[in-house]
């Protein structure tokens, strides 16, 4: 019942988080487009960078959260850990999609090609495939104890694969120089400010989506629980009727 009630009226802190996220996203967009200077060679396309890099970090945060919650689920099964794992995977895939869409757009302008075999690109693509498959298994398996366990297994294997994919892909393609990265040279102080603001905004957005998805998951669990209760009562009622007859 508790979980059901939380869905009826959003808590004040959640409204606050949503408001804060809204403000942060607009501030970040303003800084990106009006404060940070345009890059000399790439021009306005370089602005994708402020969306692309934080999204990549958030995608991996989602995947790691999913893996962590899955370990907890296997050690001590509870619907709560499962809901968190699922939310992590879904939000991770969402941000990963943003990365995989914005990446080629940027690469077309920066490197002259939509796609290259650069290690980080391949790693992100493979992680996206693994976690989309994870969500597919969830969709097929439904909300059953068995599906939850299978998915926990998948999430752990998927995240354990990250260092190996990185190792093999880097060895294959050779150690690449840092493409444009957030740290170090090649970025002006104004750009740094805009990037930091983007990180804050995207981090808040990630947290907001995650919290909303977790609440929704708890709600689903509560509905399911209620449904089971009703079914059990119906069963009992039918049994009594039969007895009387």
């Amino acid at each position: 019942m508790q979980a059901w009630k939380t869905l009826e009226r959003p808590a004040p802190w959640l409204v606050g988080l949503a408001g804060l996220t809204g403000v942060a996203v607009w501030v970040a967009l303003g800084l990106v487009f009006f404060y940070a200077p345009s890059e000399r060679t790439m021009g306005v396309v370089q602005k994708i960078f402020y969306l692309h890099v934080p999204s990549a970090i958030m995608a991996y945060a989602g995947f790691f959260l999913c893996c962590g919650a899955s370990v907890v689920y296997l050690l001590r099964p509870s619907p709560k850990a499962d809901v968190i794992a699922r939310a992590g995977a879904e939000v991770g895939v969402l941000f990963c999609t943003v990365v995989l869409v914005t990446g080629p757009l940027w690469a077309r302008k920066a490197w002259g090609t939509w796609w290259t075999g650069e290690p980080r690109l391949l790693l992100t693509l493979i992680m996206a495939l693994i976690f989309v498959a994870y969500l597919l298994v969830r969709a097929v398996g439904g909300r059953r104890e068995m599906t939850r366990k299978v998915c926990a297994v998948l999430a752990i294997l998927g995240v354990a694969d990250i260092p190996l994919v990185r190792l093999s892909v880097e060895r294959w393609r050779g150690a690449h120089p840092q493409v444009i990265s957030g740290e170090g040279a090649g970025i002006s102080p104004e750009m740094q400010v805009a990037l930091t603001a983007s990180f804050v905004a995207w981090g808040l957005l990630f947290a907001l989506f995650l919290v909303l998805r977790i609440r929704l998951g708890f709600g689903q669990e509560a509905v399911e629980e209620g449904y089971r209760l009703v079914q059990a009562r119906e069963h009992a009622w039918e049994a009594t009727l039969e007895k009387r007859a």
Binding site: V140, V150, A160
Partner: protein, 230 residues
């Protein structure tokens, strides 16, 4: 420990005996591998040099495709006869069962590879191999790692709807590091003078095997735990 070993041996013996009597996995898997390589004949690799370049990829992709056929079947058999739920009632069965299924899968896949490798060599007119023991070691390591993940995932998906479709979808992205290492090592073995040493890649394959053997052994217990109740 002795008891676990005996259980493992009994389970492997049982699986292999069933296979020996029906030979259905070997026949279908072997034929599938031959059909695959025949398909690759029509993929337009005409030039000798291009053929030599493409051969390692063709070999490992064929192993991957054939592998999912094998892994799915070895569990399907136990499911059909409902033997799995019976087996799972034995206390402490998870370890020996995992080891037994892994052994069966590796053995069956190796037998199919014994057909697949010559087929690829003939189709792509390969003659020179840097080191035959090297190629066998690479194939064995690749097969072990692939079967490790395949066994645990096939066990996990055994009770799900659409498991035949889901198994490749979850398995292939996970084994990319292993397949890539296999392809590169094989490439280095076939072209000794071209690039890199094949032993460089063996390290990646060993790391993959070590990590996933440990993880799979732990996760297998969780994966089969649901039995047929789900």
């Amino acid at each position: 420990m002795r008891r676990a070993l005996r259980t493992w041996w009994a389970l492997v013996g049982r699986d292999l005996r069933i296979e020996w009597r029906s030979k259905e996995i070997l026949y279908t898997g072997g034929l599938f591998a031959v059909v695959l390589v025949t398909l690759f004949l029509f993929s337009g690799f005409q030039d000798r040099a291009v053929q030599a370049q493409a051969a390692p990829g063709v070999l490992w992709v064929s192993i991957a495709l054939t592998g999912t056929l094998v892994f799915g079947r070895t569990f399907e058999r136990d499911r059909e006869a409902d033997a799995l739920s019976g087996l799972l009632m034995i206390p402490g069965i998870a370890g020996p069962l995992f080891a037994a299924k892994l052994t069966t899968n590796v053995l069956l896949l190796l037998v199919i590879e014994a057909l697949l490798v010559p087929a690829v060599f003939l189709t792509f007119s390969l003659q020179h191999v840097g080191s035959w023991p090297g190629l066998m070691a690479v194939l064995a390591l690749g097969t072990l790692g692939f079967a490790t993940l395949g066994t645990v995932l096939a066990a996990a998906l055994a009770a799900l709807r659409m498991r035949e479709v889901l198994l490749p979808l979850v398995l292939y992205p996970l084994v990319i590091p292993l397949l890539l290492s296999g392809v590169r090592a094989t490439h280095a073995l076939l072209h000794p003078h071209a690039d890199g040493d094949w032993t460089d890649w063996v390290g990646v394959m060993i790391a993959f095997n070590a990590l996933f053997l440990v993880l799979a052994r732990w996760l297998f217990e969780e994966a089969v735990d649901h039995g047929e109740t789900g």
